[in-house]
Amino acid sequence: MELDAIAKLVFDILAFSSIMVLVVLGLAVIASMMGIFNLGHGEFVLLGAYTVFVFRELGLPEWAGMLAAPFLVAIVGLFVEATVIRRLYVAPVIAMLATYAVGLIIRETVRGLIGGQFYSIDEPIQGFIQIGDVSLSAWRTVIIFITLAVMAACYLFLTRTSFGLQIRGALENPMLARASGVSTSRLYAFTFAFGAALAGLAGALMVPLFSLSADLGLRFLVQAFLAVMLGGVGTFEGPVLGGALIGAMVPGFQWLRELPLLNALIQPIVAEVLVFVVALIIVKFRPQGFVSKGRI
């Protein structure tokens, strides 16, 4: 095992983890704020990816699509919140079923639009960055930095701005927040749109690494769920940690295949399923998650 390969593996793990962190952050923000587990979250990721595809089909550059995706998906999220979710705050389980139905509608619409095909999309920034002997993919570097920037911005937004203060207040005690003149329904709408925007951004950024297909969202929904379960619910750090771990497992298991003995044992498809199995087993034996209690 050479230094070059190890650096590459670590780098891959960082890039995949970054994507998962973005997806999971959006899911966790909605879940902790509104108590609704958004089963349509994967389809928001899909919509982000699809936006980039549409931009490319229109002859526009990919980066423009990636820039537009979070905003377009946020608008979709606002629309969904206003038409469906708002009615169902009192019954989170019914809301969950409704988000599943919304996800189904989005998924099948996209499937109808692109057919059953797989499309690959080029990275907007191609080439490699050379550091010593190690060459790293430029686009993955960009993903890592964007994720770091988004997380820093989220943190500053929540801790430094007055709107962030309102959000933290509403999270702590919605009744009291309402009594103090904070419009929680406006906050919820904003939160939902924000979570959707994060998903859209993640989808747009990762689509060059995966290929675009209608079932893309499901994969991310399942992985994000496992990440939240691994990390522990109701905290900020937990899901992020879980997301990073799930993101790390995907290239990690692929890499295990390069070892001589395991090569025959772990087929590519098994590597993917193994992620689910390992995550479920961890959840089974540590149901409270890595971070059992914390605050935002």
Partner: protein
């Protein structure tokens, strides 16, 4: 009202193949193995899948997005037995399918339901979804079971030395099994065991305080439902002559959810009606060129509307609340109507991540 619907449906299903055969025959001799008989056989099989979902969600509050897993897994196993060993006897195939469904459901149930802490609805929903998704990905990439192409069953199901082709006889076999499943399920939910289930959906915590081990009850119902789904899956793969990744995964699981919700959960006849109506919709909508690619969107919209506006489903239109829930022991008149449980299991404690 429910008995009228039940008997009406049974009588209709009994005479349907003859009626449709004579109606479509025109001047020529009626063909009893025609398209309309075969399509409705599929519906009868899928109705069992719908019942299995309803047992989970409608009767014990297990939001299962993974009924397709047991359905498809049983289909794969019996298809593999047919391919490798040529075991085609119905007396082997059906118990085998049931056993596979039961064991798979026991495993998933042990994993998701019998934990150290009480699982939330979200956890169970996404856990079953994950299991189903993982199974779909696994069989789609596994060459031994045909990978993406699935397995074809070239032979027919056998009863003794009689070959059971899709058609009139298969129709009645499927109907017979549907009746058996229906009666078995009804016995389960109307027994003392079912009384505990009814108490659980009204107030799960209170039942737990009475000393019932709620999660064990849930696991039992889940396993039984898995067995029913396995039975359906075994019959389905023989009827279609094919089993593929799509009959294991999210797609078929979503259909099971839709059948149940659309027909009306919490009753046994509801999912049967739901399966029938949705399959008829599928039959006609996917035939229209303009919306062929988009008809699953229609299903999504139906699900959304049902969930948000009509949680009691189609059956809720004609059946009163009290009758939907059913009664146990000596009927209490007048007062009982006021005390009927809510229309759907209210498990508001199940919201993950609520601060």
């Amino acid at each position: 009202m429910i008995p009228i619907v039940e008997w009406g449906l049974l009588i209709f299903l009994l005479i349907y193949p003859f009626a449709v055969s004579f109606l479509t025959a025109g001047d020529s001799a009626p063909d009893f193995n025609n398209f309309w008989v075969i399509r409705v056989t599929t519906m009868l099989i899928l109705a069992k899948l719908a019942i299995s979902f309803d047992l989970c969600w409608g009767y014990s509050g297990i939001m299962s997005f993974g009924q397709g897993l047991f359905f498809g897994l049983a289909g794969y196993v019996v298809a593999k037995f047919a391919e490798e060993l040529g075991w085609l006897q119905i007396f082997f195939v059906v118990p085998m399918g049931m056993l596979v469904g039961l064991l798979a459901a026991l495993l998933v149930g042990w994993f998701l339901l019998l934990g150290k802490r009480t699982p939330t609805v979200i956890f169970v929903a996404l856990g079953t979804l994950t299991a189903s998704y993982a199974a779909e990905r696994l069989v789609a990439g596994w060459l031994w079971v045909g990978a993406g192409n699935g397995l074809s069953i070239w032979d027919f199901l056998m009863i003794g030395s009689y070959e059971l082709e899709p058609g009139l006889i298969f129709y009645y076999v499927a109907l017979l099994f549907l009746c058996l499943v229906y009666l078995g399920s009804r016995y389960l939910v109307r027994s003392q065991f079912g009384l505990v289930l009814a108490g659980m959906r009204q107030n799960e915590e209170r039942i737990a305080f009475f000393g019932y081990r709620v999660q064990i009850y849930k696991a039992i119902v889940f396993s039984f439902a898995g067995m029913v789904a396995g039975l359906a899956g075994a019959l389905y793969s023989y009827h279609e002559g094919f089993v593929g990744p799509s009959s294991v995964g999210i797609g078929i699981s979503t259909y099971a959810v839709l059948y149940g919700l659309f027909g009306g959960i919490g009753t046994l006849i509801g999912p049967v009606i739901g399966a029938g109506v949705i399959e008829i919709l599928r039959l006609f909508l996917s035939d229209i060129d303009a919306i062929r690619n988009y008809w699953p969107v229609v299903l999504g919209i139906i699900m959304l509307v049902v969930v948000a506006y009509r949680p009691t489903g189609l059956l809720g239109l004609i059946v009163s609340e009290r009758e939907r829930i059913g009664s146990f022991g000596i009927a209490v008149r007048g007062k009982a109507a006021k005390e009927t449980p809510p229309a759907r299991p209210e498990r508001t404690e199940g919201d993950d991540g609520a601060a």
